[in-house]
Symmetry: C2
Subunit: 339 residues, 2 copies
């Protein structure tokens, strides 16, 4: 499960960081999901191997523009590229109204079905063959939700001793059972996959927060999760100066929560645009990392635009960002001309 | 009068070119105007000396998303930066509806007045102290207008012989008259600036086209203009293959028109995203230039993202793009943190 950050700045873009967008690639080759879609998300995608043609669903945490204003461009570009597969848009209702207004007022039609689902409906749940997704209400100045991605259908291991004991010889039946399929033998016996296989490992689980001033809201969701992606808009000192009304988290706040929840991996993002990346510049983004390390002893990562972190099947999180340019470039030829 | 291209791609962005946006800087230091605002225009601005704080007005040629989807982000970022000066948005009515829907559905309010003006109203005209702007209807698959920018108040030259002949000695009165102001002397005589000064040079005039398949619609507007900025979406061969329905111009079409109109400077832009910039890549953007040169003998320029062309007072057009990095960078510190 690969997390690629398409934007790590909060509120406004900087010269090096875009506003929020996060790709989660999982399942069939190149299949992926998008969480939030700030302006310029489609531009960032041009510098990754991800294509809007293989995008399965978009999840929007809340209505703010730095998480939504990239939707009209991404959706219409997908259409211009020739997409015909339905695309799911899981979002608060006002976001759906915004998209509808953008299309209606720009002479745009989509060449595919945009399937709306209200992310704020009680009991929200979404799934396909690769992931199941639930939502957790957060605390922000507008309704906001985290999304919990749990891997579906992790691979099965055959219980070979049991198969042989029951007289089922190695052959096509073994393959069917391993793929999770029940089957009927020629002699009429019914074999249930669950009886002859076991799930080889825990399902991977990633929690992606939205804007939120109360990380502890995610305590239950983080049980059994390997990764929490959470905003850390500023240091505690800046948060104290700004005051509580924006309802964002400090690095310290999130780190304390992650430590108390015994989370193995914490990825911070959505940094205030005041923070600089250049060595020596002030305030430097390293201040957020230093503050978080005071409280959190697990694997701490500060997200960077276009960085990719892979949650392996062994539940470790690795930075697999390719060296600049290698393997990440997608020729412009991949973009069809506008009509 | 400086033209800075913020995007030169039509329809969809490429890795090197953004969708349409053009800045015209003129008048008071750093004062500027924006023509069209595709997604990512605010991102491009971060790499120029232009600030949304000094933006006077936005002119939108037509409703298509590659000319409008950057508006919500640019407008809200200006507010987050602390803008309080009113901002004029000259646009078709559906664009105003799109902006209103974007703000209403993203919990956004602007800290300044956004003054709407319908660009499609009969007799449209806009002006401030530095420029006057008129619109010319074009031929596209939705209503589309070119904007004609004419310099106002070019500097006056004193008719010194006449002043001395009338007994007006060098002094503060001379300065007032040169600034175009009439005045009353101590002896009661009224001096009219027009009587003692003359405009030193022709007013500069720039025509900025929108999407358009009939450049000849601009014939009258181009009379006395020094620069035409016009789309050249593809070569004639590609235009013939694509067919007429997108209603774009070929490089040959625009070049023939510019030659017939005896325009001294022609700037082509809005190139199909199929065209490549990298040396050796195909189809190369140089094909558009080569085709245009077959028909046009004036000063031909292909726009590049972040290139700046200056129309001097002597009516010559010069490429004044600074070397990469020098003078164009604006520290991220210039961006205030999000609320």
């Amino acid at each position: 499960m690969d997390l690629t950050f398409l934007g790590t700045s909060g509120g406004t873009p900087t010269k090096t960081r875009n506003v929020t967008g996060l790709a989660l690639a999982h399942g069939r080759p190149r299949q992926w999901y998008l969480i939030d879609c700030g302006e310029g998300t489609q531009h960032r995608l041009l510098h990754t191997p991800l294509s809007v043609m293989q995008l399965r669903a978009i999840f929007i945490t809340h209505v703010h523009g730095d998480h939504t204003f990239g939707l009209p461009g991404l959706l219409t570009s997908a259409s211009m590229l020739g997409r015909t597969e339905p695309l799911h848009l899981v979002a608060p209702r006002p976001v759906q109204a915004f998209v509808a207004a953008a299309l209606a007022n720009s002479d745009s039609t989509l060449g595919y079905d945009l399937v709306h689902q209200d992310s704020e409906a009680p009991g929200f749940q979404w799934q396909d063959d690769a992931v199941s997704v639930t939502a957790v209400p957060l605390s922000h100045r507008v309704p906001c939700h985290a999304f919990v991605f749990t891997e579906r259908n992790p691979e099965r291991r055959l219980c070979q001793a049991r198969l042989i004991a029951d007289g089922i010889e190695p052959g096509p039946a073994w393959g069917e059972l391993q793929r999770g399929r029940d089957l009927v033998l020629d002699d009429g016996r019914v074999l249930y996959s669950d009886d002859y296989t076991e799930i080889a490992r825990p399902a991977r689980k990633i929690v992606v927060g939205g804007d939120n001033d109360s990380p502890e809201r995610l305590a239950a969701a983080c049980t059994g999760a390997q990764v929490l992606v959470h905003e850390a808009t500023y240091t505690q000192a800046v948060a104290d100066r700004v005051g509580s009304w924006p309802q964002h988290s400090s690095a310290a706040q999130v780190a304390r929560f992650a430590q108390s929840a015994a989370l193995p991996n914490l990825v911070l993002t959505h940094f205030s645009s005041r923070y600089q990346d250049r060595p020596g510049a002030r305030p430097h983004i390293g201040e957020l990392e230093a503050e978080a390390r005071q409280w959190y002893r697990g694997n701490l990562v500060l997200a960077r635009d276009l960085a990719t972190f892979r949650l392996e099947k062994d539940l470790t999180l690795r930075d697999v960002t390719p060296p600049a340019g290698r393997g990440r470039t997608r020729p412009d030829a991949g973009i069809q001309p506008p009509p």
